[in-house]
Symmetry: C2
Subunit: 166 residues, 2 copies
Amino acid sequence: MKQKTVKKLSSSIEDYLESIYVLNQSSGTVRVKDVSAKLEVSMPSVHQALHVMSDAGLINHENYGYVELTEKGRKAGKKIWRSHRMLTKFFNEILGVPLSRAEEDACKMEHDISSKTLERLVSFIDFVESYPHKEGPDWLKSFKYFYKTGKRSKECDERIKEKLKK
Amino acid sequence: MKQKTVKKLSSSIEDYLESIYVLNQSSGTVRVKDVSAKLEVSMPSVHQALHVMSDAGLINHENYGYVELTEKGRKAGKKIWRSHRMLTKFFNEILGVPLSRAEEDACKMEHDISSKTLERLVSFIDFVESYPHKEGPDWLKSFKYFYKTGKRSKECDERIKEKLKK
DNA sequence: ATAGAATGTTAGTAATAACTAATAAAGTTA
DNA sequence: TAACTTTATTAGTTATTACTAACATTCTAT
């Protein structure tokens, strides 16, 4: 019975896979130096990782050729990339963290968030976005005020009072 | 000029430090086997890590004695523990992730979240908790409904309609 | 077509962080 | 206190993942 399908990928292998996936989406073909440049690691490091990924059935790669994702590799890469995007979105658009910082954090945390937690987060983002104004619901604005000042906004307090009346 | 103060700690060293901090808070004294049991690693692994932490000025440890945190170590441990608690709280109480899963995720992600992002998250949690009912604001209940059904609750839709009228 | 540049691979090294097996010290109890 | 148990340390191994230096291949432009 083949077990390799189940084996968990290391963070660094996930990083390589994600990069290959993203590069493949944007430019079609992927070469060692592209991955090297994207992840800011040496080409030998990429080469070594390609070997591991190849053994795991995530990519196909012949010496001096392009890096090609297998179906399995594409799915895995896509999943990691989704975690990355969703975490970034949450940090940036909801918490108000500057984009570059949001990306940095997401880039590390994407490897550790479980599927269940990610789906909850995605649902939360959907919930916020399902409001008709693109600025999001009132409470999100209230939160941003709260963050800046440490106090609840007047609107926020009014909503609380109304709630208490009922 | 001493640089060692600035040097970033690895995830595993952070884990050891956090465990020592927590064990110290709960039972006062900390021994190698306690850390070993808590992190489920061998005692030699703990021993090795203690050496690294000792060199970094985070703990004091003499052979066969207790592990003692330095002031620097205590501060660092406390900070990681705070990240852990806040992430757990967010996942569990706001997103509704079951506690054990929330803990697991937090335990890995705690090492990667930046201070800035953490402070935003803490502020967000404070914001939610600053509502007078401990179930949190209406929108949080709406979110939980949304998560279960994929639809906005009636209350939620009403709030949106009211907003649009204005 | 070939020289030189760009890209890729191989080989060997280093740091981190886990492990087991063997040994040593400390503690407990008959 | 001597035997035994528990706890701790040392030594040596392994896997991962990065690196540099040296070499090989492929591409490009004259």
